[in-house]
């Protein structure tokens, strides 16, 4: 099956069209954000099955809200708390109790790959505030504005945390190969 080209309309335009009953606009939103949603859900839950369930529930939630929805912020900012809450629900079913704050900085499961394992240890060595912004920015692909909104902190604080996180990564001996030291 050939991939469907992305709709040129913005998220806000697609939401408005979907709210008016245009199902193809909803499909375009789904295609645009499904991979991001799955990756985030996978990070929160750690399994493919739970990640898919969370993705499914997140888009059904979006569809149910759609008729009365006007997008005033980015769609990811809207989806993020829904995905997090659905993941907490899924984790609770599996008796994996992780608090919301920690979940934001939750790391994927360890792997047998040495390089990946090394990077996970680097992230674990960061304090929670710095780990959160690095993960949200470089693993979850959120913009600084979205990070500020998700963490409910001022934009300047998000920028400051990311700046210090960069310095900590650069100074970490395990990251030497990346910084050409």
């Amino acid at each position: 099956m050939s991939p469907v080209p992305d709709d040129p309309r913005s998220d806000a335009q697609l939401v408005a069209a979907a709210a008016g009953g245009e199902t193809s606009a909803f499909d375009a939103l789904f295609r645009r954000h499904r991979d991001w949603t799955y990756r985030l859900a996978y990070r929160f839950t750690g399994t493919d099955a739970d990640a898919w369930d969370v993705l499914q529930e997140a888009f059904l939630y979006l569809a149910r809200r759609m008729p009365s929805l006007t997008l005033t912020t980015s769609l990811r900012t809207l989806l993020f708390p829904a995905i997090r809450n659905l993941a907490i629900k899924a984790n609770t079913k599996r008796r994996k109790l992780v608090a919301g704050e920690e979940l934001l900085a939750a790391l994927p499961a360890r792997s047998s790959d040495q390089s990946t394992d090394n990077l996970l240890q680097v992230l674990e060595s960061l304090g929670l505030p710095h780990r959160q912004v690095v993960i949200l920015r470089y693993i979850d692909d959120l913009s600084l504005e979205e990070i500020a909104e998700v963490l409910a902190i001022p934009l300047g604080t998000a920028k400051s945390r990311l700046f210090h996180a960069h310095r900590l990564l650069r100074d970490n001996p395990r990251c030497r190969k990346y910084f050409g030291q």
Partner: protein, 130 residues
């Protein structure tokens, strides 16, 4: 210390790519799961709209009922819908001279003389005397 501007270029591309690879992408071969999900989403998408249509029908019904009420009121008030129908007033038939004479000739009633009849007729017919 002045803070340097935050720029994604500050982080080496190799590190960014490795961080991004920490979570897997959506697996391939899930077309059927996506189809099922979108079918459910379309159904959910249309459900509230149905409810909204129901409200529209209700509003339209109320409007028709209001129009019918206005039409009935108008027909009762002689074509002027703004006018309220006059309340029925019990008006006694205006007595005539004949009525006065018949009343005067009832059995057991003392026969009035011609002057009394004339006075009765004047008091009934004349607008000046009431």
């Amino acid at each position: 210390m002045a803070m340097a501007p935050i720029n994604d270029d500050n982080l080496p591309e190799g590190l960014r790519a490795d961080l991004h690879r920490l979570t897997p992408s959506l697996p391939a071969g899930i077309a059927h799961r996506e189809r099922d999900l979108l079918a459910q989403a379309h159904s959910a998408l249309n459900q509230p709209r149905g409810r909204r249509t129901g409200w529209r029908w209700l509003a339209a019904g109320a409007a028709v009922a209001a129009m019918l009420l206005v039409a009935v009121t108008a027909s009762r008030s002689g074509g002027n819908p703004a006018a309220t129908p006059p309340a029925p007033v019990a008006v006694a038939p205006k007595p005539t001279i004949i009525d006065a004479m018949i009343a005067a000739r009832r059995p057991g009633v003392k026969q009035p003389d011609i002057d009394q009849i004339a006075m009765a007729a004047v008091s009934i017919d004349s607008p000046e005397v009431h």
